[in-house]
């Protein structure tokens, strides 16, 4: 959870938040790593929060620097028979399938 101190507007990230982000990111973290991340992320967010100095209510967000619209193309198959290439780098496969740990009990 985020703790917002209304007196100095400094947000801080605690251990519980780190565990939550780690779950969302699908990266397991042990206690030791989580504690280090609390320190690192707090110093980074303290730095990031400089942006709050700016008023941006009437600013349009920039989503792409390339001021072009995406090009349309005909919907035709250009590459085919790539099955072998696609499976080639998989850590584990069975004939034409990727193998993962059992999902359904």
């Amino acid at each position: 959870m985020i703790v917002c101190d209304i007196f100095n507007y400094h947000m801080s990230i605690d251990l519980k938040t780190i565990k939550h982000i780690s779950k969302l990111s699908r990266i397991s973290v042990d206690e030791k790593k989580a504690e280090k991340l609390v320190g690192d992320l707090n110093s980074i967010f303290e730095f990031i929060e400089k942006l709050n100095e700016l008023k941006t209510d009437n600013v349009q967000p920039l989503t792409s620097v390339a001021e072009t619209t995406l090009k349309l193309r005909d919907d035709e198959v250009k590459s085919k028979n790539l099955r072998e290439q696609i499976i080639k780098n998989s850590p584990q496969e069975n004939e034409d399938y990727f193998v993962v740990p059992k999902v359904i009990e």
């Binding site: 780690s22 973290v29 730095f47 100095e53 780098n89 993962v100």
Partner: protein
Amino acid sequence: MSDITKQSLSELIKNIKDKKLSSTEVTKAFVERSEKSKELNAYVTEDFSAAIDKAKKFDENPNLNLKLPGIPMAVKDLFCTKNVKTTAGSKILNNFTPTYESTVTQNIWNEGAILLGKLNCDEFAMGSSNETSFFGCVQNPIDKDLVPGGSSGGSSSAVAAQLTPITIGTDTGGSIRQPASFTGIVGLKPTYGSCSRYGIVAFASSLDQAGPMAQNVRDCALLHEVISSYDEKDSTSIDFKRNNYFKELTNNIKGKKIGIPKEYRVDGMPKEIEDLWKKGIDYVKDCGAEIIDISLPHTNYALPTYYIVAPAEASSNLARYDGVKYGFRADGENLIDMYEKTRSEGFGAEVQRRIMIGTYVLSSGYYDAYYLKAQKVRKLIKNDFDEAYKKVDAILTPSTPSSAFKIGEKTNDPVSMYLNDIFTVPVNLAGLPGISIPAGHDAKGYPLGLQIIGKAFDEQNLLNIAYAMEEKINFKNKITDWWIK
């Protein structure tokens, strides 16, 4: 012919075209020097015997009309190369061999160049010192235990140490220009959309650009001409008329207006950088250009903006590394456990940190406060440049706030590491081209660079200014070959 590796790209091409040198001789010379330079740790993957075979094949029936006839070169290990391992400096891709070629490297091979190997870089290009690489840090040929910059640190080290005549890097927040500055070479980050991103391991897609790194501006212009192309395989590739950057290169920049942004005079900047900048101003004046003071008022907000936008995009791009389709997999009790262990063991500390920042700023409840806010500030930063370019043709700044630092000096403090990119990051946020050229030395004898920032798609003008300045500066890199026993 002795000292083949000391020759610039243009000299090598001339010698090959005049049949004074064969591609095999040139390739063998760079292979030999690379073999003797293992201590620099510039290569992740060597492809030397294949390179010599290709050179021999080239010599059997040489096509001398190509732009890079039989020229050997190594590339950053972020470019997918067909049937040659591509790691992005990460354990998670340590067993990945692409079945396809990136557009940029394909353009290079189409012009006759030959792959020497893959060069070390920060993991997924996230770093400013090459220290986040799974394959260990790279030595800067300038001095022992000095970082070569990052993330294209293997690339900068290899060009400066003459292990490859030229190379390509990628630049998301300064990853071509900062290492170029730290090693006394030239590095160009092109306009967003100039060079295809197809087949480049993705970091932050709205910022990533490939670009050339070379010993001098001419070589850089030639390589840029080869790699810049419209590509329908990259949806943000831009179809514009590209120049013949090398052929059209001129040192005549009379009457060009060069802006000096006052916000780049940051607190604590060493006096030698300030002096270098002043000298740079004198050089462009000597060339007949006009100096104009400008303001880029949101400069100070560029780094905080970058450290929201880049990790957000990275967290999304790196979601694909799940241990299923390719790359490293750790064993887990179930599917989720396998994902979590794979990513925890496969990614290094900096990459995990950035994925977590990105995940957080995109997560429910915080998106508006962080990501949307950053996109708005990004707009203000771009507006600053648009406003400035009504008055000037290009902007001159230092490339970095300091010269190269020692290995290990900044690894414990992520924010101090991030501050390295203070002058380069705004350029990526605005999608503009920027070039770093070596311009002098500090008291320790380490190289310092100056950056020229151009208008979008105005690489020709940028290269011309760099070319004119290079002549005046007459920089000589101080390389002692200390690593060769």
